[in-house]
């Protein structure tokens, strides 16, 4: 292993040299660095830029700039060809960061950072498995990564949402442990192919053994070079992010206990396990069979934490803080998740700045007041809007015009929604949709009273005449029904209602038939009936009607309408159909 390790180091160092000098003689370096003397001579000046903070940063930065600034193909390919994966790919990399900077970049996370540092302990000290948990976007992942950047220890990160089943999880871990890099050359294949936990454990043993030997040899060398200050140490840490997702895999019968027991199974003291989950440990008790790891809790940010967080990297601190003073409190009553607030605040801040000429000004008190009064109307609407859709500039203008005309954009939107249907639907489909809505809204027992020959209009009156007591329980029953949501119905019932509706809608529809009997707009009942099933299928595709069961012809399939009431009303209005008359309610 050492034999094939040393050339790696040599090549890495040559990269650094190459970055300092030009590329082509880097290649020559690669060629002549095979001989041992060259190696340690290279190592001596080669290691700093990888392993130590301070002055020798310059060459690395040049590599960065070289790699990133040059978008042309040849250099990109050169970069890939130049550095084969080394142990340093397991380091987070980036410029080293001091603990204080780290703490200052994460407001309100001081305790967690310190606790983690303590638990990770000094160099080369073994560690029990850690279980880091806390709500979404509370800085778990980024703090861990930054921490490893600070400690400069190798870690193998794998997110269980990206690795959506155990095979991919295993293979990605093995890829990074075997220092294997996918590329077009190897057809983006994995280092090893393994699906079973047992194979995984064997491979893992092997890989870890190699890796730890490398690390040991490295640290030996670095000791020999008297720079243990920032040695990478002998420990390797496996980080499992989004661990809560694992519970859904194969119903977590085996995989969760396996991963929790991985430490005991391997018992390699140089291995550290870190689980990052967004749910607390007690949600894993469902499948026992492991001993709990050491918990580290990340609470949600408090309000003033959020204040600091949003204030970070803002151009005009004063202005933004005044903005936050206005906005933060009401929004925190709804949610305290950063990523959710982020988008809202961005657009809201633009609104806030609208009256300002330049956003560089330091707001005085009355200006704050003015801005607030300007913002006040919008806050409410933003509070109640969870998903804001922006427009491309052209449409933007129109909406602005309408806004000028009608005032509040949100109100405008709702208004429009009530007004007319935004999308095209054939008449047949509309009737079908309405009948589906009725079918899943009304109890089946009422159908014959609603849709009798006289089109239900006077059946309503009949229902009026029942005693109040009956009314009461009817109402309660009806509310129950509403709560339970749309009921299901067989195809036959749907068609029956459909026929009733169509017939009803076509006898009394006087004025428009009057107007265009010359044109004979209505194709007549048969015309509408002709390919109802086709329409039904397309309605199912549009998620308006949800179809349960399998094939429509075989065993009784039941349907359920999934449309909201106002959509149904809209459709009814577009047909001039008296929907409310048929709804079962007082």
């Amino acid at each position: 292993m050492d034999k094939e390790q040393t050339p790696k180091i040599a090549r890495r160092t040559t990269r650094s040299l190459a970055s300092a000098s030009t590329l082509d003689n880097a290649l020559t370096e690669v060629t002549n660095c095979a001989s041992p003397p060259a190696i340690n001579h290279l190592i001596v000046e080669g290691d700093p830029d990888v392993d130590r903070e301070g002055t020798p940063q310059i060459p690395r930065r040049t590599t960065r700039s070289l790699a990133s600034a040059s978008n042309s193909d040849n250099v990109a390919t050169k970069v890939t060809s130049i550095d084969p994966p080394t142990i340093n790919d397991l380091l987070v990399g980036g410029d080293p960061i001091s603990l204080d900077d780290l703490i200052s970049t994460f407001p309100g996370r001081r305790n967690q950072v310190l606790e983690l540092v303590r638990l990770l302990g000094p160099l080369n000290s073994p560690i029990l498995p850690l279980f880091v948990y806390g709500g979404p976007s509370t800085g778990k992942t980024s703090i861990i990564l930054q921490l490893f950047r600070h400690l400069n220890r190798p870690l193998v990160y794998s997110s269980c949402s990206t690795c959506y089943n155990q095979r991919i999880l295993f293979e990605s871990i093995l890829n990074s442990l075997f220092l294997h890099r996918k590329s077009a050359a190897n057809g983006y294949s994995n280092a090893k192919r393994c699906e079973r936990p047992s194979d995984f454990v064997n491979f893992l043993r092997e890989a870890l053994a190699n890796l730890i030997n490398n690390l040991k040899s490295n640290s030996e060398k670095s000791k020999s070079n008297k720079m243990e200050a920032r040695g990478t140490g002998n420990m390797v840490y496996l980080v499992f992010d989004n661990f809560h997702l694992v519970r859904e895999w194969d119903k977590s019968s085996t995989i969760v206990p396996f991963l929790f027991n991985l430490y005991d199974l391997l018992n390699i003291p140089e291995l550290g396990l870190i689980f990052i989950s967004s749910t607390s440990p007690d949600t894993y008790y469902a499948n026992m069979g492991y001993v709990e790891p050491v918990p580290v809790f990340f609470p949600d940010y408090t309000e003033d934490n959020l204040h600091q967080i949003f204030l970070r990297n803002q151009a005009n601190q004063k202005l933004y803080s005044s903005f936050l003073d206005v906005v933060l409190r009401p929004f925190c009553r709804i949610t305290r998740q950063v990523d959710e607030l982020f988008a809202t605040f961005k657009s809201l801040f633009e609104k806030y700045c609208e009256p300002l000429s330049d956003n560089g000004v330091v707001p005085s008190e009355d200006m704050k007041r003015r801005l607030f009064s300007h913002l006040k109307p919008h806050i409410g609407s933003y509070l109640n809007e969870i998903f804001k859709v922006s427009f491309p500039p052209s449409l933007e203008l129109e909406t602005h015009k309408e806004t000028k005309r009608k005032g509040n954009p949100k109100k405008l939107e709702r208004y429009e929604e009530i007004e007319e249907l935004e999308f095209h639907m054939s008449t047949c489909a509309k009737y079908l949709l309405i009948s589906a809505f009725l079918a899943s809204r009304n109890p089946a027992t009422l159908d014959d009273s609603l849709f009798d020959s006289t089109g239900g209009s006077n059946s309503r009156k009949r229902k009026r005449k029942t005693s109040t007591k009956v009314q009461e329980q009817k109402q309660s029953a009806e509310e129950e029904l509403l709560m339970k949501g749309p009921g299901t119905f067989p195809l036959e019932r749907l068609l029956a209602i459909f026929q009733c509706i169509v017939s009803v809608a076509e006898d009394p529809s006087d004025e428009e038939d009057q107007r265009n009997d010359g044109l004979g707009i209505h194709g007549g009942n048969g015309g509408l009936m002709s390919d109802v099933l086709l329409q039904l299928s397309s309605l199912c595709n549009a998620n308006f009607i949800i179809k349960g069961g399998s094939c429509a012809i075989e065993g009784s399939t039941r349907y359920r309408s999934a449309i909201s009431e106002d959509l149904a009303l809209k459709v009814a209005r577009s047909l001039k159909f008296p929907l409310s008359k048929y709804l079962y309610r007082r």
Partner: protein
């Protein structure tokens, strides 16, 4: 339009040569025989003679009885010509349609492109991660807390998805052409069955054409960082969002957003209905990964209008459809399925039927060819032309003295000019009607209706009993029926500046047409002098006129009345019925039944009808005579079905079997003598039933028939609760 093409192919033989249909539908004849029968009962059979019988004017042509060899031969030649003519003609129409649609989408596409580019630059501006970082497994550490995906919601305002498949394909091509990596996934890739793995596989297949065993998004990352892929934006189009399974989507989107710094994917969703559907599909924590932007495609009705304008009014103004056909198409569009695809398909069918029915329609394509200076290769031998000219009813009606091809030629040109006038008039009206959202489709139908109503002095009395087309009569029509009168009413109280706009637009649109243009000139001059009446010497610059007309109310009234009179004039003088000009059959297709037949198959009811009178279809001698009573010799399933008619929604199996058995067993003796009568034609049944059929065999046949009905989809097998009853599926449909 691509989706409509197959129809042409499979419908063409059915009208040209039905017999080979007979061949390929042997196996399931209960299902198909009927329809094919229907086809060659109604639509053109073999040989042009029958077709002449079907020709829109059902007049008894003198020489329809002798069929000489020569006739047949040149009939075949004629078919050839007609077919070629149709192909060339339709190809032209299709190309125009394509252009129209492309123009409609173009602006939206440009917007989308701009948006994509801006998003791409935004992602770039945050600073791209270095090579090593970008292919690592852990997220890039830059200060940006946001992990949102740029998402474009392209809203196709149509519940039906068919029209937009093509749109999205064009979009992807367009973006590719503009230098993006474009991947296109459909709802099939987001099925619950395959789960996230399936959709990732599809994703990778879209972008990197290597197929790997384990679909992992890190592959995509390393691919994107390789040779210079990463200075192009990545665009992923999912064209029908509503159908995707929400679970897979809500796994997929967070995954993308986790990688957004390394794989800056830009999503484009095709949303059929409204934005709310997105809210319904995705849970909120997924929605927060998207930063959406909305794009609107043209609504299907707008597209429809522009297609009508291009195809039926402007471009190939020669071919037109009659009132009934137009109405049928309109209703089909509004009531049945609101897809352009089916509309265009219908148009194609109409066009082809027209060509196959009307031999003189070759002239159309010839004329079209002459329009763009090709050689008129669809020339007919003059004598045949003459023959057909004889048969033309219109020609028969208006007594023309001489029978030479000359008057055919000039009559045809005259027809074309009339058509042009007519369509320009309609266009003008539509321009007026645009201000209060009057659909060209409706207007078109109504205009046709006018012409039809005023058509009757030529005296084919089959349509509405309006006596004659003098002006006030037509007036009354206008008053009474909708759109045109609406337009008039609206125009009466236009503000003047809108009037001037209107006139301007007319000036543009009527540029080619002399007559109307002159009238317009006079109108404009009169308007000008109306302005001139004003105290201030104002030119016809609009805002001037507007400012003044505000204070002088009655002047603007005068202007309005002028314009209205002009429009009235248009209607009265130029919207003259085409169907009273000679040779209108050449250009105008006016046969709804065939179209209806070809378009709305309505299979279920057909099946049921055919089952009820199967003996009409399979004309076997055995059950020829009493078609009403059920005979044992009839096909089992038809017997069963007609028995089932007596039951309601639920059919008791036992009773059913009993009645079936009685039918089978009764009047054996009749069959005996019938066998004596016709021993050579005995059906399969009779052979094994020469003796009294055993109980078992009857049961077997019963079960067989029941399963057959079930397979057809008329029955549903007994449920747990009612094991003795079968239920009818979609009873009364």
């Amino acid at each position: 339009m691509a989706p409509s093409s197959p129809i042409g192919d499979d419908l063409l033989p059915s009208s040209m040569a039905p017999q080979n249909i007979e061949n390929n539908i042997k196996p399931f004849y209960v299902l198909h025989k009927a329809s094919s029968q229907g086809k060659d009962r109604k639509s053109a059979g073999q040989g042009k003679k029958r077709r002449r019988k079907e020709a829109p004017s059902s007049l008894q042509s003198p020489k329809k009885h002798e069929g000489s060899i020569a006739e047949e031969h040149d009939g075949h030649h004629l078919h050839q010509l007609q077919f070629e003519a149709f192909c060339s003609f339709w190809s032209k129409i299709e190309s125009t349609i394509k252009d129209v649609l492309r123009n409609i989408n173009g602006s939206v596409f440009d917007e989308i492109l701009q948006w994509v580019m801006s998003c791409f630059n935004a992602t770039r501006s945050t600073g791209e991660p270095s090579f090593a970082n970008s292919i690592r497994s852990f997220p890039v550490l830059n200060g940006s807390t946001t992990r949102q995906l740029f998402t474009g919601l392209v809203i196709t305002k149509n519940m039906e998805f068919v029209d937009d498949i093509l749109t999205f394909e064009e979009l992807s091509l367009f973006l590719k052409h503009q230098g993006c990596h474009v991947g296109m996934l459909s709802s099939l890739d987001f099925s619950v069955k395959n789960g996230i793995a399936g959709c990732l596989k599809a994703l990778l297949r879209e972008f990197m054409d290597t197929t790997m065993d384990s679909a992992d998004i890190s592959n995509l990352a390393s691919w994107y960082r390789e040779q210079g892929n990463y200075n192009k934006p990545l665009v992923l189009i999912i064209n029908d969002l509503e159908r995707c399974s929400r679970t897979v989507l809500s796994d997929f989107i967070p995954m993308l957003s986790e990688w957004v710094n390394r794989v800056p994917m830009i999503l484009i969703f095709g949303v059929l209905t409204t934005v709310d559907s997105l809210r319904n599909i995705l849970p909120s924590h997924v929605l927060h990964h998207l930063c959406p932007c909305k794009f609107m495609l043209g609504s299907p009705t707008d597209r429809m209008d522009s297609i009508i304008e291009a195809v039926l009014l402007k471009h190939c103004a020669i071919f037109s459809i009659g009132y009934k056909v137009a109405l049928f198409l309109r209703n089909n569009f509004l009531n049945k399925d609101g897809t352009l695809t089916s509309f265009i398909r219908a148009l194609k069918i109409a066009c082809m039927l027209h060509f196959s029915v009307e031999p003189l329609s070759l002239i159309l394509s010839q004329a079209l060819a002459e329009e763009d200076q090709e050689d008129g290769k669809f020339a007919l031998p003059p004598d045949t032309v003459l023959k057909y000219v004889h048969e033309l009813p219109s020609r028969a009606r208006n007594q023309m003295a001489d029978e030479t091809g000359r008057n055919l030629a000039q009559g045809f040109s005259n027809l074309v000019s009339v058509k042009k006038l007519w369509s320009t008039a309609v266009l003008c009206l539509h321009q007026a009607g645009k201000y209060n959202r009057i659909r060209l489709l409706d207007l078109f139908c109504e205009a046709l209706f006018l012409s039809k109503a005023s058509d009757c002095h030529v005296g084919n009395g089959n349509d509405s009993g309006l006596p004659s087309s003098n002006s006030n009569q037509q007036r009354s029509i206008i008053q009474e029926c909708g759109y045109i009168s609406q337009i008039f009413r609206k125009v009466r109280d236009f503000p003047p500046e809108m009037l001037f706009q209107l006139v301007k637009s007319w000036e543009i649109s009527t540029a080619g047409v002399v007559e109307i243009h002159d009238k317009l000139k006079t109108l404009q001059s009169s308007l000008r002098c109306e302005d001139g009446k004003r105290p201030t010497k104002s030119t016809d610059s609009k805002k001037e006129a507007a400012r003044i007309s505000l204070n002088s109310e009655k002047d603007s009234r005068i202007l309005n009345s002028l314009v209205v009179t002009f429009m009235n004039d248009l209607v009265r003088s130029f919207m003259r019925p085409i169907s009273c000009t000679p040779f209108h059959e050449i250009s105008c297709f006016n046969d709804v039944e065939k179209l209806q037949l070809a378009l709305t198959g309505d299979p279920r009811s057909r099946i049921q009808v055919d089952l009820l009178n199967s003996n009409k279809i399979l004309q076997c001698s055995c059950c020829k005579k009493s078609s009403s009573a059920l005979l044992p010799s009839m096909h089992d399933s038809s017997i069963m079905y007609s028995l089932a008619e007596e039951h309601g929604d639920l059919i008791n199996l036992h009773d059913w079997f009993k009645s079936f058995k009685t039918i089978i067993l009764d009047h054996k003796n009749k069959r005996k003598q019938k066998l004596k009568l016709s021993p050579h034609k005995r059906k399969r049944k009779d052979t094994n039933e020469s003796s009294d059929p055993s109980e078992a065999s009857i049961q077997a046949r019963f079960c067989n028939a029941v399963t057959e009905l079930q397979i057809i989809g008329l029955l549903r097998m007994p449920s747990k609760r009612r094991p003795d009853c079968v239920q009818r599926v979609a009873f009364g449909l």
